[in-house]
Amino acid sequence: MLDLTQGQFVKHVITHPFEGFEDLRWKKSGSMKIAIVIVCLLFFQQVAFSRLYGFQYYSDYDKIFNIVPYIFRSFVLFGVWVVANWAMCTLFDGEGSMKNIFIYSAYALIPYISGYLIGTVLSHFLIEDEYIFIQAFEIIGLCWSFVLAISAMKAVHQFSFGKTIALILLTLVAMVAMLFLLVLLLTLFQQVLIFVFSIYTELSYRLRV
């Protein structure tokens, strides 16, 4: 029963929102490689959404291109989510390991990514008045991913529904806290760097004289 390859499991999981992740857990399946590919696709989707979208819908300020916001919205946010979720689940006695949280969360993102990618492709064939079709794909993908995310969290930690919701909310709070600390850390390091650099400048001037 359910002797599926890793690839087939991905399909099984996203087409069975309610028991898919439980099956994945029961079979101790799930591939880190596929999960990493999905996160890379998330990054690609973010870039595609703002750079490859049909001209009739969206024209970005194209005099500058900065990759950092896209990296932040994909890799950084996903990483922070995984770490925050793992940290919270240890407080809640969840059963998920960091690796499993990573894999299950990535699998849950597939409808969101594909919905937006389909929208991006469609945006080259439709006109402004027909935006509703693109929007439908994007919204369905987003909602589907939302349902899958709840199901994934529920399965990976073996929680009840209410506890899962509480965990997700707390994870979001923890993410905000982590990001805040991250920004603080970066700013402080910047200050230190400036300090060191100014000492270096001072010394170099003195030594020259």
Binding site: Q8, K11, F55, Q56, Y57, Y58, S59, Y61, K63, F125, I127, E128, D129
Partner: protein
């Protein structure tokens, strides 16, 4: 060897010729002409007007002017300059040869001199001159010999707040002979008289800008008592500064304010409604878009005068940066010229603007003279193209727009104009290219719709055949699979 020498000398001659070329172009203006692109960034452009003359009191031959405040070109081609400091009106012809100086004004036979006049208007129907006599607190209606026929003094009405001063600043008259007076201390709009001197009320007030403070005050007013309401600060709009009237009787106003963005420029119908609202006034910007790259000070424009050109162009004078912004009648920016400074074409304190045909006259109250701008070839082509375009003659405007691009490849409207012309000729693919360069999404979408429809019509047979073949193939494969004839497909999902 000689070949090489020849080549070198030829190349250096060419380089010299080229450099001379660029020098002569860039040295023609005292400022860098610029325009705005789709993103509101300043990009350099060609000059639409060039400053080619400056006249002061001595060149006119009437003695030095002192703080000239206003200029008006009448329908019979006379130029009236209000010499505020000398309390007189200088009348010249279009070449600035002195016609006469109006100094002696008579009211019922007695002398009644002006005191710091600041505005003038000549009625095209009656040939009568209206002068805003600022410090005397009156607007006078007089004939060309200076006989005062009527005075429009302080309104005898309780609508006019007793605490307010009455110093008329600018004046104009509509077809029906109604007199509109801008008084700086009045924020309710222009003071309006009928031709018999009866006070009719106020005309065309600005709105209050919706800031957070205004909203908060509105909320507190809901819950406070009448006494408390008495004591809170009132939200009063900023009164407009100057106006002009076009041939159809629409009055255009400008508001000199660096703080607000609401109602900076308005086009008022006789009821006093702003009809630019229906043209999308919310998306229009007048004056410099901050931050203005080419300005030394990051200050907002302060629009001090407006004038209507022969084709309905709006010439708006920015006191802050000494710049003139010319818009066409659809309020698209055409050209920006001027600047602050001492050179020809720049200003120290620009106070009034007037246009006649292809010339612009700008009065500077500290240089005590009038700068004359003449439209360049580039300006003429752009004006022609814009006029054709605004009349809906897109195809006729194609050639002018193309020559505009030869002068200035950054001129965004030219791309839109060419795109629209091509669109009207059903050349969708080319139109799409131009709309993409000009970054106009809505137009691009319409062109794309046409292109797509055409493509679908042309390739209808091929598309239908492909769809039928694919469907049939799937049906056949499914049928075979069911019968177990294709064993290798069984493993698949």
């Amino acid at each position: 060897m000689t070949g090489l020498k020849k080549l070198i000398s030829l190349a250096s001659a060419a380089a010299l010729a080229l450099s001379m070329c660029t020098v002569s172009v860039s040295a023609s203006e005292a400022y860098d002409p610029y325009n705005y692109d789709r993103w509101g960034d300043a990009i350099s452009s060609q000059a639409g007007y060039t400053a080619d003359g400056f006249v002061d009191g001595n060149t006119i031959g009437c003695g030095t002017m002192n703080e000239p405040a206003d200029i008006f070109v009448s329908h019979d081609d006379l130029v009236y300059i209000v010499d505020k400091g000398n309390n007189r009106i200088i009348v010249t012809d279009l070449e600035f040869n002195l016609v006469k100086v109006m100094e002696d004004f008579k009211l019922n036979g007695e002398s009644s001199p002006l005191k710091k006049p600041t505005g003038i208007f000549v009625d095209r129907f009656t040939d009568l001159i209206y002068i805003a006599d600022n410090e005397n607190g009156r607007v006078i209606k007089c004939d060309t010999d200076g006989n005062i026929l009527k005075e429009f003094g302080r309104p005898e009405s309780e609508l006019y707040d007793a605490e307010l001063t009455y110093n008329p600043n600018k004046v104009l008259v509509d077809k029906a002979g109604n007199v509109y007076i801008v008084v700086r201390s009045v924020t309710k709009g222009a003071v309006m008289y009928n031709s018999d001197g009866k006070f009719l009320g106020f005309y065309g007030a600005n709105r209050v800008e919706q800031t957070a403070e205004v909203l908060a005050n509105a909320f507190w007013n809901l819950i406070s008592t009448d006494e408390q309401r008495e004591r809170t600060a009132k939200n009063t709009p900023i009164g407009f500064t100057n106006f002009d009237i076009d041939e159809l009787g629409f009055i255009y106003t400008v508001t000199e304010s660096t703080e607000t963005t609401t109602d900076l420029v308005k086009k008022l119908n006789p009821r006093g409604d702003n009809i630019l609202d229906s043209l999308g006034a919310a998306d229009m910007t007048f004056g410099d878009i901050p931050p203005a790259y080419y300005s030394i000070y990051a200050k907002n424009s302060s629009l001090t005068d407006i004038d209507l050109g022969p084709n309905g162009e709006l010439n708006i004078l920015d006191f802050q940066h000494g710049r003139i912004f010319q818009y066409d009648k659809e309020c698209w920016l055409l050209f920006i010229m001027g600047g602050t400074g001492e050179q020809l074409g720049t200003f120290r304190s620009a106070t009034a603007i007037e246009s006649h045909d292809d010339k612009l006259y700008v009065v500077d109250s500290r240089k005590n003279g009038v700068t004359i701008f003449t439209r360049t070839t580039f300006g003429e082509i752009v004006t022609e193209a814009a006029n054709l375009y605004n009349d809906g003659k897109y195809e006729e405007s194609l050639e002018p727009w193309k020559s505009v691009l030869k002068y200035d490849g950054n001129y965004r409207r030219a791309y839109i104009g060419i795109g629209n012309a091509l669109f009207n000729r059903f050349e969708y693919k080319e139109a799409m290219e131009y709309f993409e360069i000009s970054i106009s999404r809505g137009r691009y979408s319409r062109a794309f719709e046409g292109y797509r429809d055409e493509w679908l019509k042309e390739n209808f047979t091929a598309i239908m055949i492909t769809i039928i073949v694919v469907v049939v193939a799937f049906l056949v494969l499914g049928h075979l699979k069911k019968k177990g004839k294709l064993k290798f497909l069984k493993g698949g999902a």
